[in-house]
């Protein structure tokens, strides 16, 4: 069974063309549902849209603020780094100017200068003097570099050209990262010489650490080739290659948007440190910084979705409930209208039958009395040769009178019950009375009707006329079903007994055509009929209404092609819940129904 077929309201597939049905329930449901959904969801959707745009605006502002923050941080750190380098370059420039070549060329003197330098400025590892012949004249430091020839090295040539040099970071002999600052000095008497110092990159790391970055951010230094000059937490070890392409060299700091290898957005800040091959790089992950914004967005979306679902469910149920109640009330109204119409017709037929019976009974009484008189007269005379034949003829007349009389009395018996009256009823006798009407019909249709009553079956308190109509309707349907059924000869078995809880049961089982499963649950619905033009669809619905009114129950079981069993269960003692004479005017002279 599909979800829709389970959710579908009962009125959805009902025919809308009943002449007495004044409302198209499907249309009513749609319009009510649509209006309610529109009114309820419009504010939510508007709120969601407004919220979405406000959120987007705030998100963009936050993104922009993040860009500014990256720009601000790299600017400040670049200035610190540039100052750090400039400070050390200036210190070397001061030394090279303040001391003469012989002083600097004296290793002991140079060692004192180096000691003072280390005391005043941190980070210096060694200090050496290189004369114009390219040879290291004096050296103070951990290595034996005195006499080393630097003439062919690139940095030497650059110093000669620019007057100073700041090298890339390299590992050196002791395998720790450091870089070189070299300063050239020219004098009139000695040509030129170069003071060269090695600086530990630990000081660069300390300066980067002062940036106090978020856990989502990373900062490090790269050279012009993109090789990391300091270690990075997230983008590789020192001297490894930075994976992102570098921006074209510009004087100003740059902030660019990029994507990580995993596709996450990144903010990259580049700040070139003037007078060095170094570029400060800062990497920020906005998705982590703005994660709570994303979470807020998801929460808002979930809240809106949950609200929409809740509204739809509530409106669905409310609308369905409301329209179903209207539909049920309309069905009841139609059923009552048709029952009134139907019972009024039956009442007219009943009155007509009573009138006919009256008109027949009077001449019948005369025929009866005349025949009786003839019988009286001939009985007193025993000499007539025709006496026997005469008496036989009179007897035949009187028997015929009795038969007609029985018919008219039955007609009057049914016509008599115009009001609900509770009386003691023997169900077996009641069924016999009803069968009295159907005997000829059953004989004509070659249907055998058998009645089996439980010995000592108790009487019940109920309305005789109403019950007569109930059983007449069911038996009429059974006769029709048997006549059209595949099982011949037709058979109807009536069982009268009590069930476990003491209530009386009249089960009427036929071997007729049976009822299709899809029709079985609808046989008691008003206007439901399988007889086409010949059925009104009211017989069984009236039957159902009467039985319920009298405090009983009527149930049906059927197998297609095998037959149908109606079970009427009645309480033994019952006062009708409402004795409405208008609604209870069942006369029982006609029957129609679902089979």
């Amino acid at each position: 069974m599909s979800l829709w077929s389970r959710l579908k309201p009962a009125f959805w597939d009902q025919s809308q063309d009943q002449p007495t049905q004044i409302i198209n329930y499907r249309r009513l449901w749609k319009s009510t549902f649509g209006a309610a959904v529109g009114v309820a969801l419009l504010p939510v959707i508007l709120l969601g849209i407004i919220n979405y745009y406000q959120f987007e605006e705030q998100h963009q502002l936050q993104r922009a603020e993040l860009d500014h923050e990256v720009q601000r941080v790299i600017y400040k750190t670049r200035v610190s780094l540039a100052y750090f380098l400039e400070e050390r370059r200036s210190a070397l420039a001061y030394i090279v100017r303040a001391y003469s070549l012989p002083e600097l060329g004296d290793s002991r003197h140079l060692a004192r200068i180096f000691a003072n330098l280390k005391g005043a400025f941190g980070g210096f590892v060694d200090l050496g003097l290189i004369t114009s012949d390219g040879l290291q004249k004096a050296y103070v430091g951990p290595y034996a570099l005195e006499g080393k020839d630097y003439r062919d090295q690139e940095w030497y040539k650059e110093v000669l050209l620019r007057g100073f040099h700041v090298s890339d970071v390299f590992m050196g002999h002791r395998n720790f990262p450091h870089f070189v600052i070299a300063v050239k000095h020219e004098c009139d008497t000695c040509g030129y010489y170069i003071l060269r110092a090695t600086i530990d990159t630990a000081r660069l790391n300390e300066l980067i650490a002062t940036m106090r970055l978020r856990p989502s951010a990373d900062a490090f230094i790269i050279n012009d080739s993109g090789v990391l000059q300091t270690s990075s937490r997230m983008h590789g070890q020192i001297l490894s290659q930075f994976s992102h392409p570098l921006p074209p060299p510009l004087e100003q700091d740059q902030v660019v948007q990029a994507k990580s290898a995993g596709g996450l957005p990144l903010i990259l800040g580049f700040a070139r440190i003037e007078g060095s091959p170094f570029t400060l790089v800062m990497v920020e992950q906005p998705s982590l910084v703005l994660a709570r914004w994303g979470l807020l967005r998801i929460n808002i979306i979930l809240l809106v979705l949950a609200s929409v679902i809740a509204i739809l469910v509530v409106i669905w149920r409310g609308t369905t409930n409301l329209v179903s109640r209207l539909y049920d009330a309309d069905l009841r109204r139609q059923a009552v209208l048709h029952q009134i119409e139907y019972t009024n017709k039956l009442a007219s037929i009943g009155r007509l039958a009573a009138g006919v019976a009256h008109e027949i009974n009077n001449p019948l009484a005369i025929i009866n009395e005349k025949a009786g008189l003839l019988k009286d007269l001939i009985t007193g005379r025993d000499d007539s040769p025709y006496k026997e034949r005469f008496l036989a003829s009179v007897g035949s007349i009187q028997n015929s009178v009795k038969r007609v009389s029985a018919i008219t009395h039955r007609l009057l018996g049914f016509a008599r019950h115009f009001s609900v009256k509770i009386e003691i009823i023997d169900l077996e006798l009641l069924i016999e009375e009803v069968l009295g009407f159907l005997g000829k019909e059953a004989e004509y249709r070659n249907v055998t009707i058998t009645t089996q009553a439980q010995p000592g079956m108790p009487t019940i308190e109920s309305d005789r006329g109403q019950l007569q109509q109930v059983f007449l309707n069911i038996l009429n349907n059974a006769l029709s079903a048997v006549a059209q059924g595949p099982n011949q000869p037709g058979r109807i078995e009536i069982s009268i007994h009590t069930q476990a809880d003491g209530q009386a049961v009249v089960a009427i089982a036929d071997n007729g055509q049976g009822i299709a499963p899809e029709n079985l649950e609808r046989v008691f619905e008003p206007f439901f009929t399988t007889k086409g033009e010949q059925g009104t669809g009211l017989g069984l619905s009236i039957t159902y209404g009467i039985v319920r009114k009298l405090g009983g129950q009527v149930m049906v079981e059927s197998q297609l092609g095998r037959g149908t069993t109606f079970r009427v269960v009645m309480p033994l003692r019952k006062t009708p819940a409402s004795a409405n004479p208008q609604a209870a005017n069942g006369q029982g002279l006609g029957a129609s129904g679902g089979q």
Binding site: N361, A365, N368, G380, S419
Partner: protein, 114 residues
């Protein structure tokens, strides 16, 4: 026992009267409520057998007057048309029996003699 038969069907009352006579029961008959009432009040009858639906004075009215003026006279009502409310009205007015047509004369006599 004297019996008065009142019915607008003359054939019925005359035949019934004759059958009663054959059983040694003395009876008179009338074909209207007015005539029946006059006879009932003029002399004594043990039983009045009264049709309910008659032109002019109906059986119920005749019954009420007879029972008011001759309370010792017993009345048996005959009808061709039985109805619940009619039955109750007749019994409340003092009728002893309420019988449906056609009737059995021996049953009628048995009820009178009971």
């Amino acid at each position: 026992m004297r019996v008065l038969l009142v019915d607008d069907e003359e054939e019925l009352v005359t035949t019934l009267s004759e059958r009663l006579a054959l059983r040694d029961i003395d009876s008179d008959w009338a074909t209207s409520g007015e005539e029946g009432l006059r006879l009932a009040l003029a002399s004594h009858y043990d039983w009045v057998v009264l049709d309910l639906k008659m032109p002019g004075m109906g059986g119920l009215e005749t019954l009420r007057i007879i029972k008011r003026q001759r309370p010792d006279t017993q009345v048996m009502v005959l009808t061709g048309h039985s109805a619940e409310d009619e039955y109750e009205a007749v019994m409340r007015a003092g009728a002893s029996h309420y019988l449906l047509k056609p009737l059995d004369v021996d049953d009628l006599i048995a009820k009178m003699q009971a």
